[in-house]
């Protein structure tokens, strides 16, 4: 039996375009939604949420995307922006009761499985991607890698892990009754990925 170290790791040399296509395909297969967006993505988000009747969108107030979001947010949108900076001790009831959607960034994505990589932390709390019924994620397609292995080696995860790292692949689901898939169990019912057009 060969030692674990000598075994070759699965890698795929897909080009950038194929990676994006595979990512979308794999995510859509598990009921994720993928939308290509341009520089006016905040407006798209506002429209998507208005269509769904969502009243409040939370986002990490110090998140990278915060400035772009607030700058581009249509002033006439019925959806209110909620910059989220509250500790869970005081914000728990509002998060569980009042926030219908949350927007987060991500640290990359995986083409093979359609997974998003999130490192929640100071800028973007863990529960933002979990408690509100709709979770939106902004993704730069240049951050997509073929496999989890490729991504975690390239990003040198073993040099220092965050308190929480996540792979998210689709909205929450269960097959516990008769092996029949149903979506939206305890986590988000909808997962919407906004892929920035590569010309950005």
């Amino acid at each position: 039996m060969p030692g674990a170290a000598e075994l070759t790791v699965r890698r795929f040399d897909w080009g950038a375009e194929e990676q994006t296509a595979r990512f979308s395909q794999a995510l859509v297969a598990v009921q994720g939604q993928v939308i290509e967006v341009g520089a006016d993505w905040p407006r798209r988000v506002a429209d998507l949420l208005a269509e769904r009747g969502a009243g409040r969108l939370a986002f990490g107030s110090e998140a990278e995307l915060a400035a772009e979001l607030t700058r581009g947010w249509p002033p006439d949108s019925p959806v209110r922006l909620v910059p989220w900076a509250e500790p869970i001790e005081t914000g728990r009831d509002r998060l569980f009761g009042e926030i219908e959607a949350a927007l987060t960034g991500c640290r990359g994505a995986i083409a093979e499985t359609g997974s998003l990589i999130l490192w929640p932390g100071r800028m973007e709390p863990r529960l933002l991607s979990l408690v509100p019924p709709i979770h939106l994620v902004l993704l730069d397609p240049r951050e997509i890698r073929s496999t989890l292995h490729e991504l975690l080696v390239e990003q040198a995860w073993s040099a220092g892990m965050p308190s929480n790292a996540l792979l998210i692949t689709g909205p929450s689901k269960s097959a516990d009754i008769e092996q029949t898939l149903t979506y939206g169990v305890h986590g988000p019912k909808e997962l919407i990925v906004l892929i920035r057009a590569s010309s950005d």
Partner: protein, 470 residues
């Protein structure tokens, strides 16, 4: 008198509804796994890798556990060692008491089943709430899991509807699966919001980085580990792996083998409590490392392979015995082929040794196992342990299943087969006396005819054809 196992088998075979539910689910899971590994070469490459990673981890187990303790502690977790289930329960209780928690929300964890945690906490006045949909159904019905991945697989939607109707009369009665799932979401949401303590199992623990890896689809596991102020993780000591870059192949093997998914909805990597400046996450993370007989298993170089298991459930999905009986007939926390090798070792041959006989040795389990555990070989070893002459063998308290009559039978068998002359004499005699063979053999002949020795043994026929005896 029939043993308890045999009685449970009788009643399992007699329950038509459960048999239909299990069979349907197993066929589905087998099919999904096959579809998830379209390329046999890739599958075998991954299995070899999975086997090697887990074998390496076991070969270095003591060292890796020390490293894990160090890295987890460095990450701010508190690490506890429990030799027995009772010790683990006590540790969990002390943590909850210190936090003043009256309720514990739980993600799915087979180790907590092994500990009997829920009943223990209930006796101490603390309510343990199962949050996984399948586990919730079982808790409401006062039942135990019948499958390690799909715990409520023996139930159909109508039984669940009836149960929910009884337990949540305030909710509208629904019989459709979506409606039932929505009901569970509504009921659980409030529990997630209010809980101060959560508990989870661990799928893999990475020694290198001090990271706990949890996989799930529903999001309840993430809620149990991120919403409350304290998170208690319980794991068997064998779940450790050496390095983070060994995680991806194990993850893909686990999810594809278990449910045919390329990946679960959530893979949750936890490396410590909330850090300075972070706005949520538990302020305390406790890791309880449970032995409960595992180091005894570990001490035997052959049986040690049992501990490679990553708890995917594929062996039970592919097992002809499990598919006909369901998990409850086994009467143990871990059912199916893995249960039949693990439980006799954890609990002792005197208590669960009979499980090693609950197999046809067809080998379907070993063929499906993502880490290539030679389950049939280990079943045979346990059968042998149960009848071997040495009652003081070091690991397993064997000997207690040794019965005089079968032992004499096997001794005779060996004596006859050891000599061609004896074998010839006996087989000729059997042919002459074939009219004495019984026509009825209990349940066997209810749907089959009884076997009868041939008038002339095969060796004679072969000789008559002119072959030389070697």
């Amino acid at each position: 008198m029939p043993s308890e196992l045999r009685l449970r088998v009788e009643s399992g075979l007699g329950n038509g509804r459960v048999r239909v539910n299990i069979r349907r689910a197993m066929d589905h899971l087998v099919h999904k796994r096959a579809a998830a590994f379209p390329d046999a070469e890739e599958r075998e490459g991954l299995r070899a890798q999975g086997e090697a990673i887990r074998a390496e981890a076991l070969a270095r187990l003591p060292e890796l556990l020390e490293t894990l303790e160090r890295t987890c502690t460095g990450n701010g977790m508190r690490v506890h060692w429990a030799e027995t289930a009772a010790e683990a329960n006590r540790i969990a209780l002390d943590i909850l008491r210190a936090k003043g928690a009256r309720t514990l929300i739980k993600g799915k964890s087979m180790v907590s089943e092994e500990m009997g945690l829920n009943a223990f906490l209930a006796a101490e006045g603390i309510e343990a709430v199962e949050t996984d949909l399948g586990e919730l159904i079982l808790q409401l019905g006062g039942e135990r899991p019948s499958h390690i991945i799909a715990p409520a697989i023996h139930k159909d939607r109508y039984e669940v509807a009836e149960l929910f109707g009884r337990c949540f009369p305030e909710l509208p009665y629904r019989e459709d699966i979506e409606g039932l799932t929505a009901a569970a979401r509504a009921v659980m949401r409030e529990r997630f919001r209010a809980a101060t303590a959560g508990l989870s199992g661990v799928n893999f623990a990475v020694a290198e980085t001090g990271t706990l890896c949890l996989v799930e689809n529903e999001g309840n596991g993430r809620l149990c580990t991120s919403a409350p102020d304290v998170h208690i993780a319980v794991m068997g000591i064998e779940k450790v792996i050496a390095r983070l870059d060994q995680l991806p192949p194990l993850l893909t093997l686990l999810t594809r083998s278990a449910t045919g998914q390329p990946v679960t909805t959530y893979v949750n990597l936890i490396s410590g409590p909330r850090r300075a400046g972070e706005r949520d996450g538990p302020s305390e993370v406790h890791l309880i490392l449970l032995d409960n007989g595992r180091s005894r298993v570990y001490a035997d170089p052959e049986l040690r392979d049992t501990l490679r298991c990553i708890r995917c459930g594929a062996c039970m999905n592919h097992c002809p015995i499990y598919a006909r009986l369901g998990g409850h007939a086994y009467g143990t926390v871990y059912p199916g082929p893995i249960g039949s090798i693990l439980e006799p070792q954890l609990q002792g041959l005197d208590r669960q040794g009979e499980l090693a006989e609950a197999s046809t040795l067809c080998g379907a389990c070993a063929e499906a196992c993502p880490v290539k555990i030679p389950i049939p070989k280990l079943l045979n070893r346990l059968r042998w342990e149960a009848v071997r002459p040495d009652p003081d063998a070091p690991t397993l308290a064997p000997g207690s299943r040794r019965r005089a009559l079968p032992a004499l039978g096997w001794w005779l068998w060996a004596w006859v087969y050891a000599s061609p002359g004896r074998y010839r004499a006996i087989s000729t005699l059997a042919g002459r006396l074939r009219w004495l063979a019984p026509r009825r053999l209990g349940a066997w002949t209810r749907s089959r005819t009884a076997p009868v020795p041939a008038p002339r043994p095969l060796s004679r026929l072969v000789e008559a054809e002119g072959f030389e005896r070697e």
